[in-house]
């Protein structure tokens, strides 16, 4: 490829001042102006913020549905919601909270902070990342669109056949669910690939495996779990959609023609149980980051923490049958899955004790993020204990399909993931927006959520033990469940008030919060080493690392990276284990094609609800768009022929990677 006679200056060129470097870099990394520019953005921070805002909106709608269900259940024989609407609400509530809120928002936190924490300028494949967001958005619109038209899915968030099959769920309700799954799982898989490739290949020089922040480790474990779990639910939902679609009518789950409904349950829970850890593991990453900062010391037992995360990742795949103890599972299978369900409490327990030890040995500042973290420890331990109880087959059979299970998984999911998430919102809001959230409102916020949560869900333990079944739209007065249900409904309103307080605090702080500066908490990891909010290129001079908490230990003396291009998106790629500088990697520019491809794929998947020809036609259109995408990418400069060979010595005096941990 022809090159200009005078190559454009690289960073560190004596002809450039730091102000020049900023100007040149910002000009290429910043998204183009205007609405089109906004749609073209491939900046990981833009994409992640869109994910977070969208997921919070989907969360609010899902929460509103829950509130309406609580109103319906507040007293016996209530007629506020009919059975049909109630079925749609609990299905869409569960589906939205899992697929449109919990997983995307956890991955979004990774997409925002992983590049910053590993000290690079974007994720590994920026255009693919944008595609993931748009696919997620269209998936969410599909699900809620169905509900708005009063044809929302109504067969539960897991859509078990035969109830969800063509015979017992005619119409198109379940198909909305199945296609939403495909779109959101495409998005989840893309985000997982982004996170792993970024962490493997784009870490700051010197960030060897044993210096990777625990948050980043948690994101990598989550991403690998996504890669192995999500294909299972996509396979299951695709087979279900094919069974349902006239003109296709396969028989995967049709017992009469050799299919099997339990096969569906296996496929679903082979995804569904790891899913719980896909949500929980990133939350432990938040907790580790917050605990370290506010105890002002590194987390106790780093190797034990990392090994626990990895162990959780593996054991998480060996539990799925405990969701099926009420089906004819062989006894040996029951024993195995009972054992593994108890086993997984060990790595979780190790993490909890490490956090306690960290706080014990630290100088604790009791800020709002830490309060939410402490709330998490308490609630998650409670949810964990009821989980271990249900690992036992006889107890499981007794409480199966009762409110006891509802109480259990809300303790693990809200206690184990949403509390750390809100802690993370308070912790990183100043980094994302440049302003701190109000601490005083934050403490009120915590009190409302903690009290509201326990009022709502603790009574459900008792209701479940008294025999109240899940997924019923009403109950008789003679059951005596009315008082506790009323209490839970009151709690739900307190909980909702807590969420309103959170949103209010965010909105108020966005404009009027105290200016944060680059590092309001005196934290140790790299995201605090740049401005708040971070500039378009993240770091003017990307850092190198000599310590696990680089900002706490002599960061000023670590060398910074120069020699990167100022005329196109270039980053430094490093080796996988030691993060030694390896080569320069050119990223593509901002692009409209991800949006176009998502529109094509989204429309094709919506159309396939009605006719199978949407698949070949959509596939052809997608191929055309992908070819355009490829040819656009080639506009960035190719690899010049004269680059030095591998192993060229670095500038003298810049050898890094000392032995210190």
């Amino acid at each position: 490829m022809a090159r200009p006679d005078t190559p454009p200056p690289k960073q560190g060129d004596p002809a450039l001042t730091l102000a020049d470097e900023h100007r040149l870099l910002d000009a290429i990394w910043r998204r183009p102006p205007g609405l089109i520019g906004w749609l073209k953005s491939t900046d990981h921070k833009d994409i992640a913020v869109r994910y977070i805002v969208t997921a919070l909106v989907f969360f609010a709608i899902g929460g509103l549905l829950a509130l309406l269900m609580r109103v319906q259940l507040a007293r016996p024989e209530n007629t506020f919601l009919g059975p049909d609407l109630y079925n749609q609400f609990f299905t869409v509530h569960g589906t939205a909270m899992m697929f449109l809120f919990a997983v995307p928002i956890m991955e979004a936190a990774g997409l925002y902070f992983v590049p910053l924490m590993v000290g690079t300028r974007n994720v590994a494949f920026p255009r693919l990342n944008a595609l993931g967001y748009y696919a997620f958005l269209f998936g969410g619109l599909l699900l809620y669109g169905g509900l708005l038209l009063n044809i929302g899915p109504d067969a539960g968030w897991f859509a078990y056949p035969p109830l969800s099959g063509p015979e017992f769920s005619p119409g198109k309700r379940v198909d909305f669910w199945a296609q939403m799954i495909t779109l959101t799982e495409i998005s989840a898989l893309i985000a997982a690939v982004e996170i792993i490739a970024t962490v493997f290949k784009m870490r700051a020089p010197g960030m060897s495996l044993n210096r990777i922040p625990l948050f980043v480790w948690a994101m990598v474990v989550m991403a690998f779990m996504v890669i192995f779990a999500m294909p299972s639910v996509m396979t299951a939902s695709t087979m279900l959609a094919m069974d349902r679609l006239t003109n296709v009518s396969t028989h995967f789950f049709n017992q009469a023609e050799g299919g099997d409904v339990l096969l569906y349950q296996h496929l679903f829970w082979f995804f569904g149980h790891p899913e719980v850890y896909i949500i929980f593991v990133p939350a432990t990453g938040f907790v580790s980051a917050i605990v370290a900062t506010f105890a002002r010391r590194d987390v106790f037992g780093y190797p034990a923490m990392v090994l626990s995360l990895l162990a959780t990742g593996f054991i998480g795949f060996g539990l799925w049958v405990h969701h099926m103890f009420a089906t004819p599972v062989p006894e040996l299978g029951q024993s195995f899955f009972t054992g593994s369900s108890m086993l997984i409490a060990i790595p979780s327990g190790i993490q909890v004790f490490c956090w306690i030890a960290t706080l014990w040995g630290g100088r604790v500042r009791l800020t709002t993020p830490l309060l939410f973290t402490l709330g998490f420890v308490m609630l998650f331990v409670m949810g964990g204990i009821t989980g271990v109880m249900q690992a036992s087959v006889p107890i499981d059979l007794q409480v199966h399909d009762t409110f006891f299970v509802v109480a259990h998984f809300h303790y693990t999911l809200i206690g184990g993931a949403v509390f750390p998430l809100i802690g993370a919102v308070y912790y990183w809001f100043p980094k994302v927006t440049g302003r701190l959230m109000s601490e005083r409102v934050g403490k009120l916020n915590f009190a409302l959520l903690f009290v509201g949560f326990n009022l709502t869900f603790f009574p459900m333990h008792i209701l479940g033990l008294e025999g109240m079944p899940r997924r019923v739209y009403t109950y008789l007065p003679e059951t005596g469940w009315g008082d506790l249900n009323l209490l839970a409904t009151v709690g739900a309103f307190v909980l909702a008030l807590g969420v309103v307080t959170l949103v209010g605090n965010m909105a108020w702080s966005l404009k009027r919060g105290a200016v944060a500066g680059s590092d309001p908490w005196q934290a140790g990891t790299l995201e605090w080493a740049t401005l708040s909010p971070p500039p378009s290129y993240n770091f003017l001079r990307p850092p190198s690392v000599r310590h696990r908490s680089p900002k706490w230990v002599g960061m000023e003396e670590s060398p910074t990276v120069i020699g990167l291009a100022t005329d196109h998106h270039e980053v430094l790629a490093t080796t996988i284990l030691d993060a030694a500088p390896e080569h320069r990697y050119s990223l593509p520019d901002h692009s409209i094609w991800p949006l176009v491809l998502a529109l094509v794929v989204g429309s094709a998947l919506a159309a396939v609800i009605f006719h199978p020809w949407a698949v070949p036609i959509g596939g052809l259109l997608a191929a055309v768009v992908l070819i355009c995408w490829f040819w656009e990418g080639t506009k960035s400069p190719g690899i010049p022929e004269d680059a030095p060979t591998e192993g060229a010595p670095l500038e003298s005096g810049s050898q890094i990677l000392p032995e210190a941990r």
């Binding site: 590994a124 094919m242 396969t250 028989h251 995967f252 500088p581 596939g619 500038e651």
Partner: protein, 207 residues
Amino acid sequence: MKHIDASLVPSGALDHRGVIWWGNLLLLVIETTMFALLVAVYLYLRQNTEPWPPPRVQGGPPFVLDPNPSLLIPTINLFVLLVALVPTYLADKAAHNLDWAGTLKWDALSLGLGWVAVVLRFFEFEALHFTWDENAYASIVWMILGVHLAHILVVLIEEGNTAVWVWRRGIDKKHALDMRVSTIYYYWVVGTWVLLYPLVYLLPRVI
């Protein structure tokens, strides 16, 4: 202030050090997981159905027909795919030597054999003797063949696209890396079929 001068390391990497190489590998891990699930579904359904494949009957004599898939076309196709590996390997090697003519020559052969495999795959569906909506056995074998066909098409479009680029604009290191990635994908597509072919065609005849 000490510095690490990034301009001293090479620009781009052509092999497993490349970032896109890892992206491709992760994609293949996802796809392999999906094929493993399809195999699991096949074996799970099999334990429900005796005999396997289910009986194949017709209205007139001889009334009962062999339910096993025919072997001729599928076996020819397996060899077509295996032979296609040779030009694919040589195209990759030529691309890495920045040999424009060699890349295009071997690529044309690799793509040609790939399209032959696509055409033969449609006859393979016929060799199954069942349509997808007859029973669960037919549903899963059609799905295995169909999903694999989709992957053949993807790699042919990917490699063909790169080949057109090379043809129009010459070969450079960036596109040599693209060629390496689609070559690995090609190997993987053929490799999965080496495992799936005996499952679909041989296993029901043996046990």
